[in-house]
């Protein structure tokens, strides 16, 4: 029964990928390119070479965190869509600390940047948190809209007051070396990935072993019950949204110090690390292990896209298409708990010797 479930879950996540890749292959063929070569490079160079694998892990770092940030709120029934904005402000503030506060001690410098980034995330999350807890304002609308507010504000700040005047395009000054994570050897992987894993691990532990996790589950499944049994829902909601904000800000700071080094208008990429995080979390069905896997899988897709257009003449857009299709398929469960056919079987045999399972 249990093993069966896990098998199905596995199939449910593998099948869509295969299907999407199949469709992608057809597309690639259609434009007269070789799918096998494409996929070979896409996955080979993003998972099965040291450089590729480390690139993938490097990209997975922030996703782990944004994924977790989403998960703890979604599981508590809070539709927090503000991770993107919180990540941006976190990154931006960390960028300012990195560029304007000249702290020679690299450890201290990063620590301050992280602290400021996380704090910024928290402060920004405070708005939806309080509105939700004290005024019952739908957190989804607020966070959704505040994302745009934050983007606009940061665009203004980075193109106005905090702009790197020398630069020919909108960017804040590059952060000091002391605020940059140094890479491991020739890879792009930095200690930030370890840090991200650590934070993630701590969250996981808290969730599994303490009242923190119990609260999340109970509030998510039945807030009235939670209040009645003394979980102080209002407080908890605020706490959860703020924690989520802190993690997002932290992720932004890390992204700043390990990858971007300056705040540009494309700081969190095309789709946005916050939104990626939401996908990662949803695809991992908000479970710790699921998030780890899906974040790595997702960033493999990203680096894969990069390699495709680095080593082939296939337009990288096609990878984005495949990416979309995969996610689309992942949204549904191809098989239910007991396979469709087993269902029927049990119906038939039902009369006589009980169901098949």
């Amino acid at each position: 029964m249990k093993s069966n479930k896990t098998l199905i879950n596995l199939l449910n996540s593998v099948l869509p990928v295969l299907l999407a890749l199949l469709i992608g292959a057809i597309l690639i063929l259609a434009i007269g390119e070789n799918p096998f070569e494409a996929y070979g490079i896409m996955f080979g160079k993003s998972l099965f070479t040291l450089r590729g694998l480390t690139n993938t892990l490097h990209a997975a770092g922030p996703l782990l965190l944004t994924g977790a940030a989403i998960a703890i709120t979604f599981r508590a029934g809070l539709f927090n869509m503000g991770v993107e904005g919180q990540l941006l402000i976190g990154g931006f503030m960390a960028g300012l600390v990195g560029a304007y506060l000249h702290i020679s001690n690299p450890f201290l410098h990063k620590a301050v940047a992280f602290a400021v980034g996380a704090a910024a995330g928290v402060l920004f999350a405070l708005i939806p948190a309080l509105l939700r807890a004290y005024f019952r304002v739908d957190e989804m609308v607020v966070t959704l809209t505040l994302n745009y507010v934050m983007m606009t504000i940061l665009e203004y700040l980075s193109s106005g007051p905090f702009r790197d005047q020398g630069a020919g395009y909108v960017t804040t000054p590059t952060i000091d070396q002391s605020a940059m994570f140094t890479r491991f050897g020739s890879t792009r992987l930095t200690p930030f990935f370890i840090l991200a894993l650590l934070v993630f691990g701590i969250l996981w532990y808290l969730n599994a072993k303490t009242e923190f996790g119990y609260k999340i589950e109970a509030i998510g499944k039945n807030p009235e019950f939670s209040e009645a049994t003394g979980l102080r829902v209002r407080r908890s909601i605020i706490m959860l949204i703020l924690v989520s904000g802190a993690i997002s800000g932290f992720a932004g700071a890390g992204h700043m110090m390990s990858q971007e080094y300056k705040y540009t208008l494309s700081f969190s990429g095309v789709t946005g690390l916050g939104w990626d995080g939401m996908l990662v979390s949803l695809l991992g069905s908000h479970s710790p292990l699921g998030i780890v896997i899906s974040s790595i899988f997702y960033s493999a897709l990203k680096t894969g896209a990069d390699n495709i257009n680095m080593y082939t003449s296939i337009p990288k857009e096609i990878v984005a298409v495949i990416q979309g299709i995969i996610i689309l398929f992942l949204s549904i469960r191809f098989l239910n708990e007991r396979f469709g056919l087993l269902e029927k079987l049990s119906k038939k045999k039902g009369e006589k010797n009980g169901p098949a399972l």
């Binding site: 532990y205 119990y214 039945n222 009235e224 049994t229 003394g230 979980l231």
Partner: protein, 511 residues
């Protein structure tokens, strides 16, 4: 009389659990058929299959001798079978008439694609008159009392003029007055030639209205009897499989100590619409005493309980417990000072249906070190704790690792009581402790409450079940329009006197 409805080896399985096992039910035309059985016996499931809410796993259904294969409740209705669910299926934001006509809206004469709300209102008004219900068809459902909502459910079916009306525990949520009203209406309907299938846990009602009774146990029919040829005790025994005390032995001689432990003074609050629903309520409870609050549903009892259990804030007044002011404390704080709470709605406040039994078993004491090993949860300890509760209170479960939704109402209620008692409280707030629970469970729960009292605990018992309040309480306060109209001693007061108070008659007339 001819057989109108018949099932042959009707079976329903949920996964590997058999909820109905080869049921052969026969219902005569124009009769009121009562179906009784313990929680989780399979009554609702059976009815849901007749109404095609859920598809049978196997077996057949015959309507007037002809086999029928419904695809949806709509089919069932068209064939004249209607059902009023135990958990209402109304649209809160819709008006009464909209709910009644849901699915059979009346198109406008000219513009067919529009609905003719004028006409709809008229027809519903007529319907209401015809069956002598009192309802404003333009009222929005969410502002109506449970009893009125149930009337809508019934009207919904009558409008579709069904000949067979199924009611699943219609009375479990009604006030005594509403119950009597309903029973009258059922008789009236029977007189008009309708066939009625009635599920209830209250044998009094069975005896009062039904013509025949079918007893279900563990998914099987274990007896069919004519109501005239049986009595409550016999039915009870059939259901539970042993002798059941229909009213527990309340040994009133147990003397409560003079020491008051719980004092409520001028407690006041208002509801969302801003009108006062709890109005300067005052009472005190001594150690070893059960203080009952009787009253027609909707006179502020629910709000009072919410106030006292930290779910609602008082706008005025105080609550003292063991001398200290506990007004407007939160649930967690109340629990930490030894107050246990059996909430009104077991699935809304008492338990989390989607969480496991063991998770529910530690609710309210999630901080307690009893479940921790060096600072963090120890799943072994938690499971042991849960197992203990299940064993001690004989809670019937299917799957220990499953969720609470597997429990039937009675067993769910037992789990709550087990959990609350486990924390060795000094004071217990029990609100509607036996609602929708079978008599076996009722007996058990009443016994628990009395034992607690006899061990020197103090109890605040709120129930719309007058008999319950009468048999358990040492003193009774009667609530009316948010006030406590008067306090009486159950031993020297008759139900009618209390009934008067509940209806708002001023105290003097009674004493």
């Amino acid at each position: 009389m001819s057989t109108i409805l018949e099932t042959k080896d009707l079976t329903k399985k949920f996964g590997d659990f058999t909820a109905n096992d080869k049921i052969n039910l026969t219902v005569e035309e124009g009769e009121i058929k009562a179906i009784v059985g313990e929680n989780g016996a399979g009554k609702s499931t059976l009815m849901n299959m007749l109404y095609r809410q859920i598809p049978p796993t196997s077996g057949e259904i015959f309507l007037r001798g002809k086999p029928i294969e419904f695809q949806s409740p709509r089919d069932a209705i068209q064939h004249g079978i209607g059902m009023v669910h135990q958990h209402f299926m109304l649209v809160p934001s819709f008006k009464v008439y909209e709910n009644i006509l849901l699915g059979t809206e009346i198109p406008d004469a000219k513009l067919r694609f529009l609905v003719d709300s004028k006409k709809e209102q008229q027809e519903c008004a007529e319907l209401v008159k015809k069956y002598g219900f009192d309802l404003d068809v333009n009222e929005v459902v969410e502002n109506l009392s449970v009893g009125q909502q149930q009337k809508i459910e019934i009207l919904k079916m009558l409008y579709r003029n069904v000949d067979i009306l199924i009611l699943d525990e219609p009375t479990s949520v009604l006030t005594p007055q509403e119950v009597d009203e309903l029973l009258l209406q059922l008789k009236e309907l029977k007189a008009q030639g309708k066939t009625i299938i009635l599920i209830t846990h209250k044998l009094r009602e069975v005896m009062e209205v039904s013509d025949s009774v079918t007893v279900i146990k563990k998914g099987q029919i274990i007896g069919n009897v004519k109501t005239s040829e049986t009595n409550e005790a016999e039915l009870a025994q059939m259901m539970v499989g042993r002798k059941v005390l229909l009213t527990v032995q309340n040994d009133h001689s147990v003397q409560e100590s003079p020491e008051t432990i719980y004092t409520v003074r001028d407690l006041t609050t208002n509801n969302t619409y801003g009108n006062v629903v709890v109005d300067h309520v005052s009472f005190e409870i001594r150690k070893g005493e059960i203080y009952g609050i009787a009253g027609v549903e909707g006179n502020g009892q629910s709000e009072l309980v919410k106030l006292l259990s930290g779910m609602m804030e008082a706008t005025g007044g105080t609550v003292h417990y063991k001398g200290e002011d506990i007004t407007n404390l939160w649930a967690n704080e109340l629990r930490s000072i030894g107050i246990a709470i059996i909430p009104e709605d077991r699935y809304a406040q008492g338990l989390c249906k989607e969480m496991t039994l063991s998770a529910n078993s530690i609710a309210g004491s999630t901080r307690s070190d009893a479940f921790k090993k060096n600072g963090v949860y120890d799943s072994k300890k938690i499971r042991e704790h849960c197992q203990k509760l299940i064993d001690r209170y004989e809670i019937r479960i299917a799957d220990f690792d499953g969720t609470v939704s597997q429990l039937s109402g009675g067993n769910a209620q037992k789990l709550i009581i087990a959990r609350e008692m486990r924390s060795q409280p000094d004071f217990l707030i029990a609100s509607q402790p036996t609602r929708g629970v079978d008599i076996g469970a009722i007996e058990f729960i009443h016994q628990q409450i009395l034992d607690f009292r006899n061990r020197g605990g103090a109890v605040l018992l709120i129930s719309s079940e007058l008999s319950e309040v009468m048999s358990l309480s040492d003193r009774i306060g009667v609530m009316y329009k948010g006030k406590i109209l008067g306090e009486v001693d159950p031993l020297e007061t008759s139900e009618t006197q209390i009934g008067l108070l509940m209806a708002g008659a001023v105290p003097q007339e009674v004493v």
